[in-house]
Symmetry: C2
Subunit: 587 residues, 2 copies
Amino acid sequence: MYGRTYYCGEMTENAIGESVNLKGWVQRRRDLGGLIFIDLRDRTGVVQIVFNPEVSKEALETAETIRNEFVIDVKGEVVKRDESTFNPKIKTGTIEVIASEVAIINKAKTPPFMIEDRTDAAEDIRLKYRYLDLRRPEMFEVFKMRHDVTKTIRNYLDENGFLDIETPMLTKSTPEGARDYLVPSRVHPGEFYALPQSPQLFKQLLMVSGFDKYYQIARCFRDEDLRADRQPEFTQVDIETSFMDQKEIMDMTEKMMVKVMKDVKGLDVSEPFPVMTYDEAMARFGSDKPDTRFEMELQDVSEIVKDSNFKVFSGAVESGGQVKAIVVKQAAEKYSRKDIDALGEFAAIYGAKGLAWMKVEEDGIKGPIAKFFDEEEVKQLTTVLQAEAGDLILYVADKKNVVADSLNALRLKLGKELGLIDESKFNFLWVVDWPLLEYDEEEGRFTAAHHPFTMPVREDVKYLETNPGRVRAQAYDLVLNGYELGGGSLRIFERDVQEKMFKALGFSEEEAREKFGFLLEAFDYGTPPHGGIALGLDRMVMVLAGRSSLRDTIAFPKTASASDLLMKAPDEVDSKQLKELHLKIGK
Amino acid sequence: MYGRTYYCGEMTENAIGESVNLKGWVQRRRDLGGLIFIDLRDRTGVVQIVFNPEVSKEALETAETIRNEFVIDVKGEVVKRDESTFNPKIKTGTIEVIASEVAIINKAKTPPFMIEDRTDAAEDIRLKYRYLDLRRPEMFEVFKMRHDVTKTIRNYLDENGFLDIETPMLTKSTPEGARDYLVPSRVHPGEFYALPQSPQLFKQLLMVSGFDKYYQIARCFRDEDLRADRQPEFTQVDIETSFMDQKEIMDMTEKMMVKVMKDVKGLDVSEPFPVMTYDEAMARFGSDKPDTRFEMELQDVSEIVKDSNFKVFSGAVESGGQVKAIVVKQAAEKYSRKDIDALGEFAAIYGAKGLAWMKVEEDGIKGPIAKFFDEEEVKQLTTVLQAEAGDLILYVADKKNVVADSLNALRLKLGKELGLIDESKFNFLWVVDWPLLEYDEEEGRFTAAHHPFTMPVREDVKYLETNPGRVRAQAYDLVLNGYELGGGSLRIFERDVQEKMFKALGFSEEEAREKFGFLLEAFDYGTPPHGGIALGLDRMVMVLAGRSSLRDTIAFPKTASASDLLMKAPDEVDSKQLKELHLKIGK
C-alpha cells in the first residue's frame, strides 16, 4: 500500500474531488452519530478523515479498532466540509477525506504524554521518550527552522566563495580552553585523542594551505559542568578567510545574518549593525552582550556620591570601586519595600552586598537612604539620572565587576518583569575592542579572553611583555537580543607574535613547542593574514525560534549531567573493550 | 594593504588596462635581463608579475629579496604579453601584471618539498606538512569537488523535502558492528560514551517521530585495523525516509547521483541504473561490488569438468566446490609460463591453492593440464567459454568463496594490466536481494550482513528461527566502478520481527532489552515503515576525482596506524586529566 498522494497538512480545496492516499498518525478519534472522525497527522499538519458505513462498512469496522498514535494508511475522496463544521484552527479545516479503505500499519500503546504543543510533561519523561516529544508540531517547526537556517547560511557562503571543508574529530588535546573529551587509542597504548573544542587550528592551517575561504558547520565538544544553556556537544558555523580585514569579515557576517533573517523569519534587518566597544558595553549595560531592546542603562554616579554621608557609597568609591544606578521608570508604586528586598537578594547572587534604592516623588526622594543626601546631591542625582517623579532608582556600590554583574542581572530581570522588552525585535550588535588577556586570579596568570591565536591590536603588541592586561584584541563578538551568537578575530600569523602571546600566557618555550610546535612551524612557510568567526548554531536557532532552552534546538540533547536518557549514555562497557584500550577504572 | 581586486587565476584579457591588487604565494621567481618575473599563486591559479626598474625601482629591490612561498601583496597594471611569450600552460598565459608596488606580507623558509602537482615526496612528509601538501593545485581541486558534491546532494535532498538533522556524537556503545571508539565520562565514573559508527538508530527514531524525511552528512567512527581504503573517521551521506518502498528509495538515490554526475562531472548518466541480484553478482564476478566497465566474467565449468581426468577439477566438484574460469581475450602470447606462475601466487593471496590455465590455439589447447581433457571436453569448454585462438583461460577449482575471491581479484588485476578498463566510464549498479545473515565461523553464530535492523523479505521471516541463512534482506547496495558507494535497506518496524532478528543473532532476551530496549519500546508507540541508505562520501569523491587513496579526499587524514602526523595525535595527556576521568593506564 505505497504511493502517498499528499501530506495531510498540505491538502487544500484544490484537492476536492480527488482520490487520495494518506499515511500518518492518529491524533484523535471521535465517534459521532454512527460515523467515526479521525484527525490524521503527519509532519505538515492534520486533516480530518470521515468513516461512513454507507461508503465502506469494512473501513468503519477497522476504524473502530483504531486508537491514538496508530499509524494508518487511508484511501478516500476529498470533499468540502459543511460550512457549519469548518475548523479554522487547522489549515485543512474546510475539507475532509471520506475514507473508502483503511489499513492499520502499526499499532500504538497509549503514550506517556499527549502529543500536543502545550505539554506539561516533565522534561525527563520528554527526553526519555524523545521520539514522542519530537512528534509535537512545535518541535518539528524548530528543526524545520534549523534546516532552513543552515541552508541559507550554506548557500550564502557558497555564493561568496567559501568551501565547506571537514576537519578531524579525533584530534589532539590542547592545554588552553575548556576541558577536553578524551578518546583512548587502542593502537597507541596510553595515548589519547581529544574531541575538538572547535576546528580553530585546522581552519588556520587551511589558510596556510591557501584555501582562502573556509567554512564548516562543525560539531564541537566541551566537558564542562553544564548550565541551562550549555550542552557537551554543540554546533558552530565556523568561518575563516585570508586577506580580509576585520571590517570585511564583519560585513560578510552581517550580510549572512541579514539573509538568514529574511529567508527564515521574513524580516528586513538593516545594516550595518551597531558597533559598541567592550568598554562601552560594560559601562552602559554591565554586560559584554547587552540586550539593547530596552533602555534602563547603568549610570555611574560615583563622582556625585564620592563625598556623601552615605558611607556605603563614599566608601566604595574610596576603596577603588564604583556606585552605579539604574532608573526603573514609573515603577516606584509597583515595588513595595518587600519587593525591593527580594531584588536585593537577587542581586546578592551576583555578589552585591546590598541594593540601595530611592523612590522619586514630586517633592523629593523617599527611602531609607534619602536622609544621607543633601538637596544639592539629590538634584545632581535626579538630573544626571533623568529621574522623574514615580521612578525607582536602584544603586549598587561595590567593586567594578560586582556592580556590572548585579546591575546587569537586575536590569534584565526587571526588563522582563515589567514587559519592557519588545519580543518581536531582533537587535544585532557588534562588540569590539576586547581585551586580549584576562587575569585569572585562581591560576595566578593571564589567560586568553578569546583564544591564544587572537591577533593583538598592532600598536599594543609592545605591551605583551610589559603590561599584558592593556593589550587590546582585534576581536569582535556578535550579539543578538542579549545572547552572544558568536565571536571572531583576526589571528596571529607571525611566529614571533605567537611566541610572545604564548609567553604572556605563561607557557615555557618547551611547552609552546610541544603543544603548538606544528603551528609555529607552519608560520615559517608563508602564512597569510587571516581571520574568521564562529557562530553558535544551537543558540542562533533558539533565539530565532523564540525558545528559552538549547535542548529544544537539538534533536537528541543531553541533560545537565550530560546523560542521554533515551539511549542511556554514558553506560558501562565490556571489560574486553577496556582491556583493548589498556585502561583500568579507578583512582 | 587590503582590498584584493582579483584572484590570480581568474584574471582574463578583460582586465587589461586595469590597476589591480593581488595577494598570494610566490610559485617561482626568475631574473632575466634586469627584470624579475614572479609567478604568483592563489587557489585559483597563477599569474605572472613583472618587476621593471623603469616602473618601480623600489618594487624591483623588494622583489630581489623574495623567495618561493613568500606571501606578497602586489599592485600593478594588467597588460597583454608579447605574443612570443604567451604561456599556454596557464589560464592567464596571455597577460601579465606590471608591478608598481609590492609588500612582503610573510616570509617562507624553503619547503620540505616543492609545491607542485607531480610530487615525489614521501607520504609521511606530505602528511606531516599537510598544510603545504594542500597547497598543490590538484589537492585543492579535490576539495573543491568535494564541496560541489555535497552542495549538489544537499540541494537535491532539500528540494525533495529532506531535513538536515544533526544526531549525537556522544552516544552509546552497541554490541553489533565494528569496534567502537569510547569516550570516558567524567561525571559518571566508570561509564563511557561511544562515538557513532553511523547515525542508524537515531535516524530510525526520527522516523518514529514522524520527521518523514531525514538526511545528514554525518561523521562516523570505527576503531578497526586500517586498510588502505579505511579511515578511523569517515563521512557518510545518511538518508532515511518513511512510507517509501525499496524501489522509491532506489529511484530517489539514483536521481541524486545523476544530478551529482551532471553538476560535478558534466556527465549525463542514464537511469534507471542496472540492477543485479547478489547471487548473480557473485556468480558472474565473484564480487558483491562488480566493476562492470569490462567483461572477462567468471564462468562456471563445474558441470563440464566434474568427471574429467584432471583430479584437481573433478575432486573440487566432488567435495562440494566449484571450477570456474575467466577468459583473457588474446592474451595467450602476452603471458609467459613465468607470468602465469606469478598470477598463481597472486591468486594464492586470496586462498586459491592453484591456478590452472590453458592457451587456446587454432589446433586445440596448450598448457600443462591440456593432456587431461579429451576432445569432447575441450570442445565443450571452448564453446561454453566462447574461447578463441589466442585466448588465455584461467581456472580456479576450490570452495565457492575461494573461487569467487581469487578469480575476482585476478579479473580486476588483469583488467587493469591489460588496459581493458575505460577510465572515462562511470558504471553505476544496484546489487539487491542480499542475504540477511551470514554465518560467522569464528563466533559460531549468525551475524547481520548489513545491520541488525534490516527488514527481511516478508515471506522469509518464517525462516528466521528455522533456517536463518536462507532469509533474504530488503537491502540494496549502490556500486560505482567496482567500489561500494554505500548501502541501504528497509528497516524492521515491528517489535516482534525485531525480537526474532535479535534472537537469530544469538542475543538473549535480556541482552536485547539491555542494549536495544529503547528501540523495542519505540516500536510500541506507532512506528511507520521506513528505510534509507548511507553513501560513503570520502569514497564517492575519491572515485569521481579519479584518485586511488581516501587520504586524498580528507583534508587532515590519519595514517594506517590511525595517527595524525601533523598535530601528533593521539598523544599522552596530563595525569590530572586521567584522574578526573577515574582512569588508569595499564592492563
